[in-house]
Subunit: 348 residues, 2 copies
DNA sequence: CTGTTAGCGCATTCAC
DNA sequence: GTGAATGCGCTAACAG
């Protein structure tokens, strides 16, 4: 009811109005059991009556801790990262932390500015999907100051920080298992440069699944082509030239997958019907071009949530600077090649 | 180089190390011209050497002002609102303000929690794309405390606050002018309930354009049908029944537009070729269904930027609580009916 | 031009 | 259980 004018109502005003001391009010605010219920009720009443609002800035200053965490996203305009952000945010919200979200628009310069600003705000932690080309030094600034950092989705070369990234191996394995369950027995792997970690992981998952399904690992079925559309197109004739051609192709990414679909059509084959095509949803655009393409997508919400949970743990354990602690997130197979082949176990 | 242990380096440490007083350091930090350049350089040097970081929390406490502004978005997962958010954020960033972005996921409960939290952080202002069903009281809390509020994209019934919303009249006018420039002389307006403000605005823009193009305002061309797909379908026979049927239809929204396209096809007419169809991009889904449909879309980046600029003005002028100050944002015509008719001025 | 003094709103020992 | 002092890191007046 009190208009309050412009002189902000403080804890002291509340104390006076309630006829107690400041510290009592402070204890009530923190839900301490050391205050008699009657007093507590009276204090809460006055707080409401006076329209008092807690000043977290002052509290943080005094306690030398903060309830805000920095959260940098390389591109909020990209729905994938927007979802990632929302997944992270939700966890923080319900844990009582306030995320300071910022979009760096894939610019290291913008990112540097924002990092500085974030640092000045005195955040309890930093969770970041880094812009391309981020220097490890940017991260080191934080870890050296004892502020925990979690890298999400994207790693930073040379940075020693916790990271939550997709589990490529598992994603590839599940996709290939899916194909095997549909009855495919000749499954190729197409695309990707053999000297990259990501490719290595995905190939490993592919082999895991073959082994688990009791299928032979025919090296002829691993087609090395560039990880783009043209690579996919080029992979098709090489598959078809084999003595025993594959009935399904696991592609390095959706661009390759799109290429494979195109290549199949050129040969008069229908992707999804004659040959099942699966690809990791890295580009997230090519997939729209071909409904016949099944994709393996990162569960962005889940990844964000995992990252946020890791962050909370780091903050609460007060670890100064986490070692490379990989929290893997598994992928989701978005099917569209469906029940093409008969399931091997019909009535299971 | 100094590890700093865990005892944060403060302005005092800097002062001592540089052999000056705290206030001198403070002045340097604020870029005051009252400090001799030599001293300034020395201070900056020690700041860097000691790895000092400015504590904005303490500063804000002292000055009783803040450089952070609250920014609530009803659905960050929706690309439209994500762009809106980015547009807002960009302006704040470059003005030295830090936006505290939060996603309310269209939940008034979540929103209430976030608003409380935001309020405790002591923001300088609040810019909000409110969740559906937001009570005016939620906004009043802020304005009463002298914190400026800007409503963006979505208004809040009963709230007295600045608002930045699309300029429906101008959007309709530009779309119809576009049609007139393409050579159309019989342009209908289809859909919408006559008792809503939005409809009134769009009809007004339609009439503005007709008048400007010197075309007669034939009331028979205003087709009153419900603002949905079925309404659009129903509008077609009514148009065709006219003595002098229209060659173009301005629709209330894209759902109506989609309906009109369907209706035309049922009659063997090709939308976009035989009859130009334009619709406001309210639903933003129907449009994908018909490439022949030209849409009038809100420029989300621009809208966000306008809203942020208004916010900055309110903060800097220190206005306690702004009246309903509408910052209109114009719309963007996304053409797809193209140069159907001959331009009246061929070589202009 | 630079140093001194006094709080901003709150949390935290300690006594009472 | 409650109250009285003390300072978090910084800025804002003045005094030199």
């Amino acid at each position: 009811m009190e208009p309050g004018g412009h002189g902000r109502v403080t804890i002291i005003d509340v104390a006076e109005a309630a006829g107690v001391s400041k510290s009592t009010v402070s204890l009530v605010l923190q839900g301490s059991p050391l205050v008699r219920p009657a007093t507590q009720a009276k204090v809460r009443e006055t707080i409401r009556g006076l329209g008092y609002v807690y000043n977290r800035g002052a509290a943080n200053l005094r306690r030398a801790t903060s309830n805000v965490v920095g959260m940098l996203i390389n591109d909020l305009t990209n729905p994938f990262y927007a979802e990632l952000a929302v997944g992270i945010e939700r966890v923080f919200q319900s844990a009582g932390y306030v995320p300071l979200i910022a979009n760096t628009a894939e610019s290291v310069i913008r990112q540097a500015e924002v990092l500085k600003s974030i640092r000045e705000q005195g955040v309890a932690g930093l969770i970041i999907s880094a812009a391309r080309g981020t220097p490890a030094a940017a991260i080191r600034d934080f870890t050296q100051a004892g502020i925990p950092v979690v890298l999400v989705m994207r790693g930073v070369a040379g940075a020693r920080a916790a990271a939550v990234v997709p589990d490529n191996r598992r994603g590839a394995r599940e996709a290939v298992e899916h194909l095997a369950n549909l009855g495919h027995r000749r499954i190729a792997f197409a695309g990707g440069f053999t000297d990259t970690l990501v490719h290595e992981e995905r190939i490993a998952g592919y082999r895991d699944a073959l082994a688990a399904a009791g299928l032979p690992a025919d090296e002829a079925l691993v087609i090395e082509v560039p990880p783009n559309r043209d690579g996919g197109i080029a992979a098709v004739p090489r598959c078809l030239a084999l003595a025993d051609p594959p009935t399904a192709v696991m592609c390095f990414n959706d661009a390759v997958g799109f290429g494979v679909c195109l290549g199949l059509k050129q040969r008069g084959l229908e992707p999804g019907r004659d040959v099942a095509v699966v690809g990791f949803d890295d580009i997230a655009e090519a997939r729209h071009a071909t409904p016949a393409l099944t994709t393996v997508a990162v569960d962005s919400f889940g990844l964000g949530a995992r990252a946020a949970q890791l962050m909370l743990r780091l903050i609460q354990r007060g670890e100064p600077s986490a070692e490379t602690d990989i929290g893997a997130v598994h992928l989701v197979v978005r099917d569209s090649c469906g029940a093409r082949r008969q399931s091997r176990r019909e009535a299971s």
